[in-house]
């Protein structure tokens, strides 16, 4: 079965549980690296930069490889999970990430 098409936009912020059931990966032309404040995104179209104050919530390697944040968020508080969901949603809306349902 062909993978579900990636969606670039969402109409409303996802709840943390929803975000953890989705796969996220870098959009074509985008790169990411870890910084003290969190993640620094670069998009060659532009080029554009985005300074994402994610702290240690999201590993850059997860987004480079593509995957669900569920594993990385295990043991996190509800507030941290909610914050992560908001950040992922923002990154999708800004075009740095693509998302698709895990299932």
């Amino acid at each position: 079965m062909a993978p579900a098409p990636a969606t670039a936009r969402r109409s409303a912020s996802p709840r943390s549980g929803e975000a953890e059931e989705r796969c996220y990966r870098l959009a074509p032309g985008c790169q990411v690296r870890a910084e003290r404040f969190g993640l620094l995104f670069y998009d060659l179209s532009g080029p554009r930069l985005l300074f994402a104050e994610t702290g240690d919530l999201l590993p850059a390697s997860l987004l480079r490889a593509g995957g669900s944040p569920g594993q990385a968020l295990r043991g996190r508080t509800a507030a941290e999970r909610r914050r992560t969901a908001q950040l992922l949603d923002l990154l999708v809306r800004k075009g740095f990430l693509h998302e698709q349902p895990v299932r």
Binding site: Q31, R33, L40, Y42, L44, P47, F51
Partner: protein
């Protein structure tokens, strides 16, 4: 506003300017590095490929190749390929004379390359007077080749007195070719110092350019027209000198500098022949001094938040020192319009 994340220090530059050779087949009057003959002891192929590996390992996103004319290096495409194989985005600044259909086709295979072709006037006479006889036609030929390829292409124009009035025409020319326009700042470095008085834009030309630029969102300045930055750049808080914070320069012999316009012994941060890129970026006292540089003389200015004191390289070359404040800031243009112009300081030979 400033960018607090940048102020706090990044683990690596976002991009890096790499002057891969000083060899050049042209002798442009404003050349920042007085290019012509290759420098003694330029990095060989193995060293250059090692440098690529280090830049990638450090997390650099983009490498901007310049010189000299990069395509004069026989191994330049090999260096490019090494970048692209690692996902490093590249931008090549070229005079266009060595581009042909076959080379453009080869370069097109990577989606990670952009090319800037230098063109310093919308009229042949203007461009050729700055860059040399026949350069206008050759650059146009290269631009047409590139425009028919998928490579993102721009005209790169250094704003000078002789071409200032032609910038809108250059923008139209770029549009007719299907490429974009990037206008760079003329700095009194290299041969640019020798011809500074003859080529520098006047205060009124700078002001006129600023006014025009504010109406042309599609035109990029790309470097420190600090007083002329668009609202978009200001919104990101990147309207500051990025030297040693967001960017740095790798010289042809493997030496690192805060920026391409400060390739002088006193600003040498270290050599890739002796230390790793990551070490130099993290520990160099030269880089640290730029990160903590404050232009105190400008802090009381109402525009300080928009320019943070401007370009330290211009201030340095005009004898103010890197912390002396940019003599060409728009506020000074307004207050000194018609007044005496600053002159470049005596130049020491480039090491």
């Amino acid at each position: 506003m400033s960018n607090r994340f940048v102020d706090a220090g990044l683990s690596a530059p976002v991009n890096l300017t790499w002057e891969v050779t000083l060899a050049c087949n042209l002798r442009c009057r404003h050349c920042l590095s007085s290019s012509g003959r290759p420098a003694v002891g330029e990095l060989d192929t193995a060293e250059a490929l090692q440098a690529v590996e280090q830049l990638h390992g450090a997390g650099v996103f983009q490498v901007n190749f310049g010189g000299g004319e990069p395509f004069l290096r026989p191994d330049f495409e090999e260096i490019l390929s090494a970048c692209h194989d690692r996902g490093l985005v590249t931008c090549i600044s070229t005079n266009g004379t060595l581009l042909d259909q076959a080379r453009v086709r080869r370069l097109s295979r990577s989606r990670l390359v952009a090319i800037q072709v230098s063109l310093d006037g919308a009229r042949r006479e203007t461009c050729d007077a700055i860059r040399g006889e026949g350069t206008f036609a050759e650059a146009l030929h290269a631009l047409r080749l590139l425009a028919s390829s998928p490579i993102p292409t721009s005209i790169n124009t250094v704003l000078t007195g002789p071409n200032a009035a032609e910038i809108p025409d250059l923008h139209r020319l770029a549009g007719s070719l299907g490429v974009s326009l990037r206008v760079s700042r003329f700095r009194p470095s290299g041969r640019g110092a020798v011809d500074w008085e003859a080529l520098r834009p006047t205060a009124s030309q700078l002001l006129a350019f600023s006014a025009w630029l504010s109406t042309e969102a599609g035109v990029r300045t790309g470097d420190s027209f600090f007083s002329l930055t668009s609202q978009e750049r200001q919104g990101l808080g990147l309207n500051l000198c990025g030297a040693a914070k967001l960017t740095c320069c790798l010289g042809p012999r493997g030496d690192l500098y805060p920026c391409a316009f400060l390739q002088r012994r006193e600003f040498r941060a270290g050599s890739l022949r002796r230390r790793s890129f990551a070490e130099i970026w993290r520990e160099s006292p030269v880089f640290e001094s730029f990160r903590s540089l404050r232009i105190h003389s400008c802090e009381s200015c109402q525009r300080f938040d928009q320019c943070h004191g401007g370009c330290p390289a211009v201030a340095y070359h005009l004898g103010r020192g890197v912390g002396g404040g940019d003599p060409e800031c728009l506020m000074e243009c307004v207050t000194t319009l018609g007044g005496p112009a600053p002159r470049p300081a005596v130049q020491e030979p480039t090491p």
